[in-house]
Structure formats: C-alpha cells, structure tokens
Subunit: 165 residues, 4 copies
C-alpha cells in the first residue's frame, strides 16, 4: 500500500498540530513563557519573543510533527472511546507504567541533542504553567498532551543552549 510519489505533507501536518493546540487553548506564547523561565537564569539577555521564534521553528520540524500528530491522535481517540481495549483504558486513565508517552516525548525533547532530557523530565514532574492546566483538566484525555508540551519546551531550551554555548 505504498505510493512512492506522495510527498510529505509538511503544511498539513503543521496545521493539524497547531489547530489542536488552538482547540486546547495552548498558545505559542504560553509555551514560550515556560521556555523563557527555564533559560533566563543561564541566558540573561533572552526575551519571550526570542523563545517564541524557537518554539515556532521546532513546531515546523518534520520529526516533531510526526511524533506530535501521533500523540494528539491517541489522546483524541481515547477520549472518544475509539481505541481497542485495553489500550483505551490504559491511555484514558494515564496508567503509571504505560511509558509510551514519555518515550515519544523524549524523541522530541532531544531534537537538539541529549541535553533536552533533563529539562523534559523536570518539567514533566513539576508541571509548570500551561502544562499544569493540561494535566489537571479532569474532563479530557491529555495523557500525551502534557508530555508533548513539556517536550516542546525542553527542545526549545536545548536549541537555545546550543546557540549561546
């Protein structure tokens, strides 16, 4: 079932991710604010606007989009009870030993090298800003979404670290 003539749909993939963020009231600015708070200690001249540009660039990368689309899709289908069991129960309830969410998030967090790992792990535990809002939303399945946002922040921090190293 392969058609070698199909080009990778970069624009459509990017729009899919952004439209989901919009639906979830996640703004680039909110993600950039966490990036800013994580980096200002090490890069005193950094601004939120600069962090926003990093986040925007990351969200255009193909490897980001591939992982992000899967993460978004799985949350959506679990919420609509459209996954097979026991997967639907595992994801809907964010069972502690699932781990696929962390694993996919790390692929994103390390887009600018392994130094993104620590930031991701820290954010995934502390749940700052918009990550906390997403994590504590009791009415929706956001099992992958909080990890996705945390990983996006971590990748941006890694990108900034390299630029100022």
């Amino acid at each position: 079932m392969r058609d070698p003539n199909i080009k990778y749909p970069d624009t459509q993939a990017h729009e899919y991710v952004i439209s989901r963020f919009t639906e979830k009231h996640i703004k680039i600015h909110d993600i950039a604010k966490i990036v800013y708070n994580q980096t200002k200690e090490f890069v005193p001249t950094i601004t939120i606007e600069e962090c926003e540009r990093d986040v925007i660039d990351i969200i255009h990368k193909r490897d980001y989009l591939n992982s992000a689309m899967i993460m978004i899709q799985l949350d959506k289908l679990a919420e609509q009870n459209q996954l097979d069991e026991p997967l639907n129960t595992i994801i809907s309830n964010d069972l502690g030993v699932f781990g696929v969410d962390e694993s996919m998030a790390v692929d994103i967090a390390t887009l600018y090298g392994p130094i993104g790992i620590t930031n991701f792990g820290y954010l995934d535990r502390k749940k700052h800003g918009i990550i906390k809002d997403v994590d504590t939303d009791k009415n929706h399945v956001n099992t992958f979404l909080d990890d996705l946002i945390g990983a996006t922040v971590a990748a941006a921090c890694g990108r900034i670290s390299h630029r100022y190293a």
Copy 2:
C-alpha cells in the same frame, strides 16, 4: 481522568497482541525461526524451541505490550481510514521520513540492552521470513507490523546473547 485504582491489564494486553498476530497469520514459531537463524552462528547449541520460549517471554513483558498495542492499533486504524489527515495518508503509504515506527521498534529491540539495535536495523532492511510476507502484503497497512516483528526478533537475539555471553 485518572483512576489510581486501575491495575495494569497484563492478560488483556497480551491477548490483544496475540490475537492480532493470529489474524495476520504470524506464528510464534515463525518469529522464533528468524531468531534461530540470526543466532545459530554464535550459539551453535541453540534450538528453535529455545528461541520460542524467549519470544514468548518477551511478548509477556509490559513495556513490550505497551509499544506493540500502539503499533498494532495505528496500522488497524489507518487501514480503516479512521485516523485524521494527514496522519492517515502518511501511515497508509509508509512514507519514508515518518520514523515513528522505527523509533517505537527500537524501544522494543533494546528491551535486553542496546545490542538489539544492530539486529533490528539489519532485519528491517533485509526483511527475512515472515517479516517479508508482512512487508509485501499490498492489501493491508502493515507500516508498524514489520517493524514490530523485526524488533521482537532483535530483542530475543539480545536476550539470548546475554544468556550465552
């Protein structure tokens, strides 16, 4: 949407994976045969029966089941056109720069250490035995399935290497 009292459904998860293998005519014996062919050079006393026991043990591991369920689910939904676009097109056509399949497969291939990586990469390219049948089946979406089988073989090879090291 979390219920901390829900236990991980080990049995159900294992049955889900095995029933998909059965549906796809993938037998433990066929997977074990590839493991045997990959290891007999290094472990001359190995038997297919021993390889079967390794494959069976691996398929019971929780981290295996988590990744395998996601991989199986995504192939199924793509074939039924139930994923959002452009994800459905990307997975159905096994687009070359997708990569999430390889990434999830590596998590499985390295269940017994990083030495599983080489075996996975080699098998993913050479497509031996049942992996080839799955890969060349033009009527179904098996984008993740061939990687899943290759990773299962690679994990078993890693497990056997450690036992005889």
Copy 3:
C-alpha cells in the same frame, strides 16, 4: 583484536563500580533513601530495605555495568588530565552542551522501561541527597557521577512501579 572465547567479566565489572562508589563515599543505603523518598507517596508500604534490594539488583545488571564503567572511567581520567583535548576540558568543566552524560544516564534510567526518564530528569535537576553532595564537590570531576546516581535511582523507581502496578 577479538577473542571470542573471553566471557563477560560480570564479577569484576560489578566490583569496579562498587569500589568507585566506596571511594566516593556513596553507599547503597544513600541511593536507596532517595528511591524511597521518590516512591513512598505511590507505594505507602515500601521500605528502605526493599529499595536497597532493588538498587543492588540493578547494579548487577550487565547493561548497567557497561554504562557505569564508562561513566566512572571518563570522570577519573578527566580528573587526572589523561584525556585528549578538548575532551578533557569539556568533561572537567561539565560544559552545558556536552550531553553524553545525560544520554548514557538515560540508557540506565530506562532499564525498566521509559517511565524512568521523568524521574531521572527531575533528579538531575533537583539533585537530592547524595546526588547533591557529588554535584557540589568542587575538588573532583563528577560530571558523569551525579547522572549515574540519578539514573540508578530512576531505574529503581521504574522497577518498583512495575512491581506494584
């Protein structure tokens, strides 16, 4: 330069790691205490003695020993100025964009599945207990050592989570 008859030196590898821990005044009990503090919220019946047994088991695993020996060796050689430049400077000064320490640590943290990643990242940032002592020791190169201890704790937490899931 390969001799296929050489068996993996499990005992010697384990002794190498333990003797370095002893030299650095790192006790299994201190590592277990951090594991205990990280898990008691989720597993109220856990004891430090149980955590100690988990740590001991992990430190006997071959994939643990392989990574741990490399990490210990690189710190030692950097401190003795026996690495080539610029590697000696990079490791001695724990330069922020190095990342190989985090990458090797994650291999250990995920020995019991990807759920170890979050714990590792969190600990690597918060530097609890003995990890802090190691990190703030100004007279020695411990670039890899704090990550190694953090990863050991994270792996133990992952192992415990699976047992009680």
Copy 4:
C-alpha cells in the same frame, strides 16, 4: 570544577575528530561513497559530491562531535592499555554484550530523525567499504570506530531523505 565562562571548543573538537580519521586513513570521500551507494536507489540524481557536503556538515555538529570524541578516545586508550580493568579487556576484545558502542552510535545515526536507525543497523552488520577495513584491522582497537563511521553514514542518509522527501 565548573567554569561557566568556558565556551564550547567547536573548532578544536572538529579538528580532533578529523585528525583521528586521517590517522586511520578514513577519508570524507570514502564515507560519502557509502552514503551514495545507500541513497542512489531512492534519489537517482544524487552525486558523491553532494553526499560529501552532507558528511562534512554532520561532522561539524556539536552533538556529533561530543559522541565522536568519546568513541575515538575510548578506542585509543583501550589500545594503549590505559583503561581500568575489566573495561580495557571488554573494549579491546569488542565483547558482544557490551553495547555502549551501539548506543552512542544511535545517538549520531538519529541526528536527522529516527529513520537513521535502520541504516545504521544494516551497515553495522554488512560492514561496507571503509567500515569493513576498519572492522577487520586486527592490529588496532576499532571497537567504536566502525560504529562511528556507520552512524555517520546513517545520519547523512537520514539528512538526504528529509531533503528529498
């Protein structure tokens, strides 16, 4: 032992890697030839010169240099019997269940996304061109070097795949 004012020594790191390649008679052109042979089927218009530019760009990346320097350093020290035991024996004899070489190589192979994994695993097993020369050199310790070259090729293939996707 941290000095926050030390900048990352990009030029020196690059020179260290290149001078080791020269010492080992590994030319960018030889690496590019393997890249060319791996990609020409999918990108018929590719040239060896284009592949050379990809290899050169990759060898300038900081995350590449970090891993490459460690890999080169460990081979050198093992050959000079300057590593502690049992690490020196393990690396000198390229023991089958070591795995740190594969793990570090994968960090490089996936610099342009997870699709580099398959190529790395395949090359690590088939040992084409200069990789074979390095692997069969009985007089030197090249335990990490063959993996480093294979990973460099795999990263270049991934980079090219993304450009033509």
